[in-house]
């Protein structure tokens, strides 16, 4: 099958700004032909760090600036293992030093304004940075306002969400260590969509594991804003029933409405639930920086719609959004964010060169969850992009129904390799 240029451009679509190398040149390719193209990436998590590194690896002629306010990367995946006592904060904290070896320019700063027309960013530190293409990878904004009393209780150190790994993870571990045996740990799961669908259920396993070792009379009440376990149900139910019988009380359709830090009570539509340690995870939306360019453009103004073959915003040209902030059927996982990052990096390089990006990208998700200090299970799926349909989930993927030692070793291996792939 051979297409003429007019047919090809029809297929590629205006959003891809495609033209055939050697036949025509996009305005952007022409503008950058006499100088090196500059891509700015905002946020150095799984998505942003991977995108910055792979842009440089795949095209050393592209200048890449990576803007991140934190000194170090703290991994959300494996952070539940810290709560269970399997790992320390040091184990999940990694430096960004190696990214400079790839020629990524790291800027420790915070983006406060974006002028999409001028293609210019302003930072809190006073810098103005122009870009040819911008990649936003901010993760999620946790909507603490949606739970009454959360902010006051959080400020008093009485409740954390610990849904962004860091000081709150360490704080929650200390609270669990200080809790008396026979105490009650109350945690909540937000209504989907939220970052890391199996994360809350793995967290319940990890805390139950810790209680089994150190505080065997203690209980967990798991308040779920969803009607059922939202991910890897077979794996988690098996673990709760066989490894931790009687420890975890699961209450579906029980989203927290309010938190009282003085009384240590979580209020749902049905009950006031008394806690010794409270871990409430509120609902989420795309990271704040997306709002600076109006890219939270779905019907709820919560998530970002993108061309899923290039991850370019459907409404803001030259701005790509990757990771948890994207509205799609793809799971909001760190692993998935690195896949977004690689497809996006490849597409940006083609677009900057005036070529057509891969029209049929394929991405995959791999997600392990530990059920104890020696057992884990997984979910894995492959998604193939089809024009007009988005990413189509391929048959024969899915999750394990029971954790085992074999998959625990591969969960550890996964963390070592993905951290090396994004930061090494």
């Amino acid at each position: 099958m051979t297409l003429n240029r007019r047919d090809f451009l029809k297929i590629s679509g205006a959003g891809a700004a495609a033209a055939l190398a050697g036949c025509a040149t996009t305005p952007q390719a022409a503008a950058t032909a006499s100088r090196r193209a500059h891509v700015v990436v905002v946020g150095a998590g799984f998505g942003g760090a991977t995108c910055a590194k792979y842009l440089r690896m795949w095209d050393p002629n592209v200048e890449v600036t990576l803007i991140e306010p934190n000194d170090k990367f703290v991994s959300c995946p494996i952070s539940n293992w810290v709560l269970g006592g399997l790992r320390t904060m040091d184990d999940i904290t990694k430096g960004y030093d190696n990214l400079s070896r790839h020629g990524v320019k790291m800027v420790k700063d915070f983006v406060v304004a974006i002028d999409a027309g001028k293609r210019e960013i302003k930072t809190r530190g006073g810098a103005s940075i122009t870009y040819d293409r911008l990649v936003l990878s901010p993760g999620v904004e946790v909507l603490t306002d949606t739970v009454k009393g959360f902010k006051e209780a959080e400020a008093a150190g009485k409740v954390v969400h610990a849904w962004k790994a860091g000081p709150q993870t360490a704080h929650l571990r200390k609270q669990l260590e200080a809790m008396p045996d026979g105490g009650t740990f109350v945690m909540s799961v937000p209504a989907a969509p939220y970052r890391c669908p199996p994360g809350p259920y793995e967290r319940a396993c990890m805390v139950a594991h810790y209680f089994k070792q150190a505080k065997p009379k203690s209980k967990i009440i798991l308040l779920d804003g969803n009607p059922d376990v939202a991910s890897k149900k077979g794996l988690f139910m098996d673990a709760w029933n066989t490894l931790y019988p009687g420890v975890i009380e699961y209450r579906p359709n029980n989203a927290p409405l309010a938190v009282d830090g003085d009384k240590m009570v979580v209020t749902t539509e049905f009950d006031d639930v008394k806690a010794d340690v409270m871990n409430v995870v509120p609902r989420q939306r795309a990271g704040e920086v997306c709002e600076l360019v109006g890219a939270r453009n779905d019907s709820n103004k919560a998530w970002c719609t993108v061309n899923l073959a290039t991850f370019e915003s459907t409404t803001v040209p030259n701005v790509h959004i990757i990771g948890d902030s994207v509205l799609s059927n793809l799971p909001k996982s760190g692993h998935m964010a690195t896949n977004h990052a690689k497809v996006c990096a490849a597409a940006i390089i083609e677009l900057l060169a005036g070529r057509q990006p891969d029209p049929i990208p394929v991405v995959s998700n791999t997600c392990y969850s530990a059920t104890s200090d020696a057992t884990a299970g997984y979910v894995a799926n492959v998604f193939r992009f089809e024009a007009g349909k988005g990413y189509v989930t391929q048959p024969d993927g899915g999750a394990t129904g029971k954790g085992d030692e074999y998959n625990f070793s591969f969960a550890e291996s996964w963390s070592q390799n993905i951290w090396a792939d994004m930061l090494g």
Binding site: K342, D358, V362, V363, Y378, G397, S415, D421, G424
Partner: protein, 100 residues
């Protein structure tokens, strides 16, 4: 073999190769890169998962076909192998074989 695979993939994508940079080079490189999350940067594993750099194309293709058919023992790879075409197995195999 690799060139042939590229042409097959280009056919699947409905794109003529002449006169443009090969979208399929990018396709293969990108899908192969997604394997690195578990198998290590540039196919060199730093964990228990096996590396992929330097594997022969034939061995890679045989393993993937075996996972897909269920004739090769494994856990997660059966789920992944199910999502790719034979042409992609061949293209990825050639790519990993080229990594040192």
């Amino acid at each position: 073999m690799y060139k042939k695979t590229i042409l097959v993939l280009a056919g699947l994508a409905g794109i003529a190769l002449s006169g443009m940079a090969s979208a399929t080079d990018v396709h293969t490189r990108t899908i192969a890169s997604t394997c690195m999350s578990c198998h290590g940067p540039n196919g060199k594993s730093v964990g228990a998962a096996p590396g992929l750099a330097g594997i022969t194309q034939d061995k890679f293709v045989d393993m993937m076909k075996g996972y897909k058919a269920g004739t090769r023992k494994g856990t997660i790879m059966k789920k992944h192998a199910a999502g790719y075409t034979d042409a992609e197995y061949a293209a990825m195999g050639a790519y990993f074989a080229s990594l040192k």
